[in-house]
């Protein structure tokens, strides 16, 4: 089974069209079983599942977690499609402050923040929105911030073969804010530098300077 730890792209179904009917059945089954798990959780915390506000909560919570982990069912190739273009440019391209929402794999509690991505093209550029979609692909999973950062960087490195890639993620972890140490102002910052972003300090410095808040 595909693990979030892989740098691979996500679960693959066996050919989209023929598996669609099977997928629908599987999805319904999955939803039912997830709802059942959430119903059990609600009962275990001592709530009254039959009261009006909670009647449909198991199903809503099940749909919510499916949405928060939809990255497992997506695929890098499908996301990027053919949005890679030949372009005679070699200056740094940045997409910064991309909102990111993920689930911490240790506590299954949200962590969220911003992702800034930069790369030095080597005759190929990528559609800008695809960078945000790549962030979505890897963040909509159970994650660890360090791994998420690396996966985004590796994905861009693999599909574009650029001269370098830099990714910086700044996030607030609800598992640190709502429980445990309860430090609500703390932010976690992780980064991943590839190629010239790693080897050339001036490139890295330019990237870090450009992503700072103005």
């Amino acid at each position: 089974m595909e693990q979030s730890g892989d740098t691979d792209t996500g679960k693959q179904s066996n050919g989209h069209k023929e598996a669609k009917k099977e997928d629908l059945k599987t999805t319904e089954c999955k939803l039912k079983e997830l709802s059942s798990a959430y119903l059990s959780i609600i009962e275990s915390i001592g709530e009254d599942c039959s009261r009006q506000g909670l009647l449909k909560t198991p199903e809503r919570a099940a749909k919510a977690i499916i949405h928060f982990t939809k990255g497992y069912d997506e695929n890098l190739t499908d996301i990027v499609k053919d949005a890679i273009f030949d372009e005679d440019t070699d200056e740094m391209v940045l997409v910064k402050d991309i909102e990111m929402f993920s689930l911490c794999e240790h506590h299954m509690v949200p962590f969220m923040g911003k992702v800034s991505v930069g790369y030095l093209p080597s005759k190929k550029v990528i559609g800008l929105s695809k960078i945000a979609r790549i962030v979505e692909l890897y963040s909509r999973r159970l994650q660890v911030q360090e791994r998420l950062t690396n996966q985004i960087a590796d994905a861009l490195q693999n599909i574009l073969n650029p001269r370098g890639v830099g990714v910086v993620v700044e996030a607030t972890h609800m598992c640190m804010v709502m429980r445990g140490v309860e430090k609500f102002n703390s932010k976690t910052v992780s980064s991943s530098m590839r190629g010239e972003f790693r080897n050339n300090p001036k490139t890295r410095e330019e990237f870090l300077h450009l992503i700072k808040k103005f």
Binding site: I45, D48, L54, C175
Partner: protein, 226 residues
């Protein structure tokens, strides 16, 4: 004399404002020993962990990989922490921190951080709570106001009910001339899914007594909490 029957203890209604019953656990736990509470928590924790283990497999993960091995129990303990309000009791939270004081000017504790779980999607919502009251010869320990917020927010909630529950609890404990509560919150169920509106905030308020009847009092409160 039973300490629960001291003059400053208030009997609270067992019905919520929406007429749903307060979960059984809250009433049962009032007289449980600490050991019995710990045992109950341990059983709940394993039951919840089992459900989380099922959820991990259903979303397509591998529950046996290193990062996820202890996730079910961590997630279970996290959820129990987020819903610890059910096992708390207003008398225990307030204790004897109500004092006779000859003051009648507004008292405000503002921007109390609040973290709760939306009862519709079981996803966090969080923000700030501001509370004001007009004392009637009695004041409450200031930190108790924050503890009252904690008690009602650490549950499956909707923001409207949370706001009213805080206001009612203060009204019953202190019998002041009025209470005002304002809650500003961001709902992850609106931000991470559904309409995905990042900047939206939900604001609710509950005004009781003079805060409701006297517009000048209300105005003063609202301008002081800005």
């Amino acid at each position: 004399m039973n300490s629960l029957e001291s003059v400053d203890t208030v009997k609270f209604s067992s019905m919520r404002p929406d007429n749903s019953k307060i979960p059984k656990k809250e009433e049962e736990n009032e007289f449980k020993t600490e050991l019995e509470n710990e045992e109950t928590k341990s059983i709940s924790s394993s039951q919840i962990a089992k459900s989380y283990s099922d959820i991990l497999a259903l979303i397509g993960e591998n529950p046996a990989r290193q990062g996820l091995e202890k996730t079910p129990i961590r997630a279970a303990n996290a959820l129990l922490h987020f819903t610890k309000g059910y096992t708390q009791n207003i008398n225990d939270v307030v204790q004897d921190a109500i004092f006779n004081e000859d003051v009648d000017d507004m008292v405000i504790v503002k921007d109390i951080d609040m973290y709760s779980l939306c009862e519709h999607h079981m996803v966090p919502f969080f923000g700030k709570v501001s509370i004001g009251y007009l004392p009637n010869k009695k004041v409450i320990g200031l930190s108790k106001l924050a503890r009252i917020v904690e008690m009602f927010s650490r549950r499956l909630q909707i923001q409207e009910r949370l706001t009213v529950e805080i206001a009612n609890a203060i009204m019953e404990a202190l019998e002041p001339r009025g209470v005002g509560v304002v809650v500003h919150a961001t709902h992850m169920c609106m931000v991470m899914r559904g309409v995905e509106k990042l900047s939206s905030k939900t604001v609710t308020s509950a005004m009781l007594g003079e805060f409701r009847n006297d517009s000048k009092t209300r105005q003063e409160f609202l301008s002081l909490i800005k």
